[in-house]
Symmetry: C3
Subunit: 287 residues, 3 copies
């Protein structure tokens, strides 16, 4: 009666679902997210208060992913959906019209945090708020479409898959095109950091549709395998990528992104109108 | 086995629901939304980059409505709810305690895009962000209330109808009162465009409660009729209205709305600190 | 057949749920929220248009809470969830594996309005938008976690309880630490108002986990008792606290919070370019 009892206490209600191995892995991933979250909070407080802005978004994202992984490790947050495909290359052990667990908790976490990744990256680009918001929005559309597609039992699920991939393409194109130009408006070093990181981000994001096609869409890999595939992607994206991104920007003053605290603005703004009348009459008086 | 098989593959689970005619019409409407979306994207890229801001919100709205119409055309996204009314003037063919399909996919699309219409219109008015956000919020409250009212089976649904109409009235009053004044602060021509378009918007918005009362609320018209009624309203609002609005503003510089890209700001801001030191040493030269 | 028939028309589907007394109390609370909402709207229009900003957020919050209380008074918006605990100190009248009504309508109202309370309070502090958004976000995380915990039947619900309390602690610490400092940047009187009100807010917020533990979590008090406990807290927080907060700031010019309407900005900005030519003719004086 010791060890991980999540699968016993909250039994799965789908025929194709995780077993204790999958739950063990998810507890490990949950611990990683939780520790990264606490580490990011500690790191934030070690920095000067004016430089903390870039740490806030990763903290939010890691907190939400921690809750999502806690839910999945506890074998909560899935719903049984009849799988579309059966046969030699698919999960057949459960009989023909079998249900597969669709982990909507995972999608809720993504819908809330994926746009935050885009926001974090675009903090370093001089784009207008409307463009930033629209890019975040299409990231939301992408993962909502993945969720709806996963919940649909018939072949129409691939229609949502197409919407999701098209939205992802829109996000990546915006980041690598106008986003990169806007990062170059700040400085050349920021542009090179931006380009390097967005390339990694784009590569990782395009692995998600592949995982989806093998797991929720095509019913090819087991639920435990799905947990490993998505879990490794999430750890690479939310922990390695975000820590690396913040680390590479550790020496960059966030004021160049327009994030100076309001107190700084008050100090720098006041001299400007004061200087204008003070300087303007100077030559005339001398003349 | 050819033609539109959506109703066969995803059979409706309510007794009063759409048949293939309704699904055909929804596929046509989906195609219209999709083409308008692509057309708006193409139009955006044909314009100067500084003028693209007004195109972003219509693109988001049309993308979401495309996904919603795809769902409804595929006969997905409805849930059976026992209708309140039966009898001579209502849908009687299904027997007395019959269920009617409530298309929640439609409401999800509205909840996400209706506030964007308000946002697009208020881009042209010099209102504070708090006022813009509150107007968008009441638009959300209106359509969430319509959704909850549609899902309630008892006569209490009309309580939510009252909340929804009251919220719509708040939105319209805000647009036509403070909104119109704020548009006048920008220029007289913007105010006349604003007044003309908001009048059309208000007229179309007030047809939605009528459609709701006949379809989801009163169970008077068929599900196919409901699809036509709502669909025509959506096409008028999301395609005709938005295209017309953006077209009327094609000659207006968006910088007058405060949307100048950050590059312009950087150019105009830099000379100010640069001028200060350049002028300061002037006395020295004189000395 | 007169009087409050909500419990008859919309019968509860859980074994432990409210009866007519609870519904009566909720109608009274609904009336209080509705009247406070209308009173706040009336108060807003009695003030100068530049001072209305602080009234907008309370109006939104009170409108949403009115709809939520209407739902609960009509005995709608609950779902039956098997309670975790039974026995001497818990609700036993319904037999052993009994279901308790979880009022998700209440949580939807909180998720939408609790961050608005934080926003209203932080209007008076000179914090960066990123910090304000992150504080609001953790308030959302707190009440979403309470909701998920209430919907989970097994002992894992207390995991979500821990997440919720940790998020609440983050919000309170941020308000009383950086928030109080940021309020002090505006003026000393604003800081003292901020400190006084945030202390009240923190005290009330920490009563919510206690109520949750007794009602949704521990199944100790009846559903009617739950309605009274939460209802009194909501009335204190959304009506007494918000009215008091706005009242204490009635004499403070909102322009010092950065909320001057754009018209004022235009008026105050124009003199600056106007001053330049005003100084230019200075040579005339010299001449």
């Amino acid at each position: 009666m010791s060890g991980n009892q999540a699968v016993d206490i909250n039994p799965p209600n789908a025929q194709i679902s995780i077993n204790t191995n999958g739950s063990d892995w998810m507890w490990a991933a949950f611990a990683l997210f939780m520790l990264s979250d606490l580490g990011m909070i500690a790191w934030m407080y070690m920095r000067h208060s004016a430089q903390r802005v870039l740490h806030v978004v990763p903290i939010i994202a890691l907190s939400i992913m921690s809750v999502a992984y806690f839910s999945m490790a506890a074998d909560l947050g899935s719903t049984p959906i009849v799988a579309e495909f059966y046969g030699n290359h698919h999960q057949v052990y459960a009989g023909d019209p079998a249900t597969r667990a669709i982990w909507y908790a995972r999608y809720i976490g993504w819908v809330l945090t994926m746009p935050l990744l885009v926001l974090e990256v675009l903090f370093t680009a001089a784009m207008s708020p409307t463009e930033v918001a629209s890019t975040m929005f299409f990231q939301v559309v992408a993962f909502v479409s993945f969720l709806v597609g996963a919940l649909v039992t018939s072949t129409y699920k691939w229609g949502y898959f197409v919407f999701a991939v098209a939205s992802l393409v829109y996000v990546i194109v915006t980041l690598l095109g106008p986003g990169r130009n806007a990062a170059g408006l700040i400085s050349d070093s920021v542009r090179s950091i931006f380009t390097r990181n967005v390339s990694v981000l784009a590569f990782l994001l395009f692995l998600y549709p592949i995982a989806w096609g093998l797991a929720d869409g095509g019913n090819v890999i087991t639920s435990d395998g799905e947990m490993v595939f998505y879990g490794v992607l999430d750890i690479l994206l939310y922990i390695c990528f975000l820590y690396g991104f913040v680390y590479q920007l550790r020496a960059t003053d966030v004021c160049c992104f327009g994030f100076g605290p309001k107190t700084h603005k008050l100090i720098t703004e006041k001299p400007v109108p004061a200087a204008a009348p003070a300087v303007a009459p100077a030559p005339e008086q001398i003349v």
